[in-house]
Symmetry: C2
Subunit: 380 residues, 2 copies
């Protein structure tokens, strides 16, 4: 049996005020093309389908379209759970009416204990269990127990599921959580303030495969079959070196066989570029991917008039600008950065840039007097 | 063939800051009980399922539960369209995946032209067409035509549907609109500012039955088979004399046979009571329905200290209080009402009520001086 494991689609997400919906659509088209060419037995989505609990209607339409193409046109079952970004009840509306068409949205604990059973010649029957994202309070409330951490909650929920195992079947779990020791990025929202959100991977050992969501970097923890597929695409500059995609999983009668990354390529990469303005502008002319989403670190040590406008003429999708060249490490105890240059030097740079000629001696005296008188006013 | 026609559930509605969800749940339980005892071939909901496009999750859960019981447990198909209060795309998410389980949410024009066909011995095949609520702009945009009013839009959409008629079938339409000349109440949100929202009933004549939603009073227009079922329950005091419920419709091979009202009773009626405070308090002691949702019109001509608190001890669900006794028609040109009593009289009432004794002569002089000095200050 072969299935695709994905997670963290975050449909409807904005990044620095840019909607990523068109990028998401293109990446999902690649996913659909892959399934068309290489049919699989199921597609799993391990939570954070949407970026927020009340998603924009454009994101709802995109998901609707994608699910119709996968379930109805390609006849590939889809199994998904809500993540911490999703609204479980909202996402799970009418889920029971969708099962017969192969769409399985597992959004409550009752459904958690009723696996979706698929079968193939190679692996026999495989039971897919979805553990909807839930914090310890929800587990405590639903099961009237005393779990107080994410770890205890997952231990308890895993045990509930393991107790129902049919030994004749293989067992796959979808879960959205933070496995202890795994690598984070800047685009995951913490599950708990204070860090009590870690889950020990040991709870997952009884399964044949665990399709995890939440962390945006593809990785496995403890065992090769306890894996994060990583997010659909990059959602922060901290992910610039991540290899995004899905995971193609193979099982047989004995259980886990292999997990193989299948890359997905976003139309705009998310990168950090660094250098002096003139150098970057020259490089940009030759850059075939100049329309990537960029964080630019300007290393120039003098002030520049409207650098964003200049950069965007060459790199249309500069989303954020940092000027480390203009800052220096402060010697203050808090390590706070401060401007390295005085007002007169700043004005001199500005004048040169705006007028294309240097300040004269007389102009220098005049502006010095203005600065001094402003400073006097300030200190009074 | 027998089916139930309902509309305007408005799940999640609040009325004077009171959630009506528990009332709605009880009324829907009656609906389910009816279908359990008297099986029907389908349940139609002609729009305004929810009260707003982003409903609260409690309303989503209620609808989910009701639909599961009707479709999955009672095996009764449900056919619905969004109304002007619903978010069509939000309500219609994954609708294609639900059809095979008998849940039909018709939320776009493509689905409008693909009827849900049900059949019975008595009526043969019956095609149910749903016309999702849409304003003229949406119709113009979707069909690249020039309709500019609700009437033109409905004429056009009806013609689109009629053109696909299979003469071997009977034809039922669900639509959410304001048919010209029909009776309104205070709880419908106008479809168009300025009144260009009227639709001529003539467009609907080719159908065998037209299940209308939007107006909250049960009624028919033009022909007995072009009907509003009215809302699930009362949603304003202006509906106090409405008979709420559903409409049981019967069709045979020749078409429309009958439409019969089936009452639904809300746990709290919505009523207006009128009289002097002491009378109303005395009547309330004997009133078995004292917990109804009430608008109270106090006819007392003198001021009363905290009448709401006094009333709520007897009538716990007084939602609104009017004091026509304290007002009189003004003779000002704008007909604006004003307080009929002077400050001294008002204070005299208040003092009597608070202290249980009348003002003495000395107290009257003192308060008169205070009032006069305040008035002098005001006019300076």
């Amino acid at each position: 049996m072969k299935f695709l494991h994905t997670s963290d689609w975050h449909l409807g997400r904005h990044f620095h005020n840019v909607s990523l919906l068109d990028d998401q659509r293109q990446v999902l088209n690649q996913l659909i093309d892959y399934i068309t060419l290489h049919p699989v037995d199921a597609l799993l989505i391990a939570g954070d389908i949407y970026d927020r609990s009340v998603p924009p209607t454009t994101a709802i339409e995109l998901l609707d379209d994608v699910l119709t193409r996968i379930c109805q046109q390609l006849h590939t079952p889809v199994i998904m759970i809500p993540g911490n970004h999703d609204g479980a009840k909202r996402l799970g509306f009418a889920a029971q009416h969708m099962q017969s068409s192969g769409l399985h949205i597992i959004s409550d604990f009752t459904q958690m204990l009723q696996p979706v059973v698929l079968s193939s010649e190679q692996a026999g029957e495989v039971a897919f269990y979805g553990m909807p994202y839930s914090d310890p309070e929800q587990v405590r409330d639903a099961f009237k127990n005393k779990v107080s951490t994410h770890d205890q909650a997952h231990q308890f929920l895993c045990q509930q599921i393991v107790d129902t195992f049919n030994p004749a079947q293989r067992h796959v779990l979808l879960s959205h959580c933070f496995v202890d020791g795994a690598s984070t990025s800047d685009s995951e929202r913490p599950l708990s303030i204070g860090g009590a959100d870690c889950v020990n991977h040991q709870h997952f050992l009884p399964f044949d495969y665990v399709a995890l969501g939440h962390l945006h970097q593809p990785q496995y923890k403890g065992q090769e079959y306890i894996r994060y597929s990583g997010s659909l695409m990059k959602y922060s500059f901290s992910e610039q070196y991540h290899k995004k995609g899905m995971t193609l999983v193979e099982l047989n009668q004995e259980g886990f066989v292999s997990a193989q990354p299948i890359p997905l390529t976003a139309p705009h990469d998310m990168r950090i570029i660094e250098g002096e303005l003139e150098t970057l502008l020259a490089l940009g002319q030759q850059d075939p991917h100049a329309d990537d989403y960029l964080l630019v670190r300007l290393m120039d040590k003098h002030a520049i008039l409207d650098p964003m406008e200049k950069l965007r003429r060459v790199y249309p999708n500069v989303l954020h600008l940092e000027k480390p060249g203009m800052l220096m490490d402060s010697e203050q105890p808090m390590g706070r950065a401060r401007l390295a240059r005085g007002e007169l030097d700043m004005f001199r740079d500005f004048f040169l840039e705006a007028k294309q000629e240097p300040l004269t001696e007389l102009q220098t005296q005049a502006i010095s007097q203005v600065i001094q008188s402003l400073k006097n006013q300030e200190s009074n």
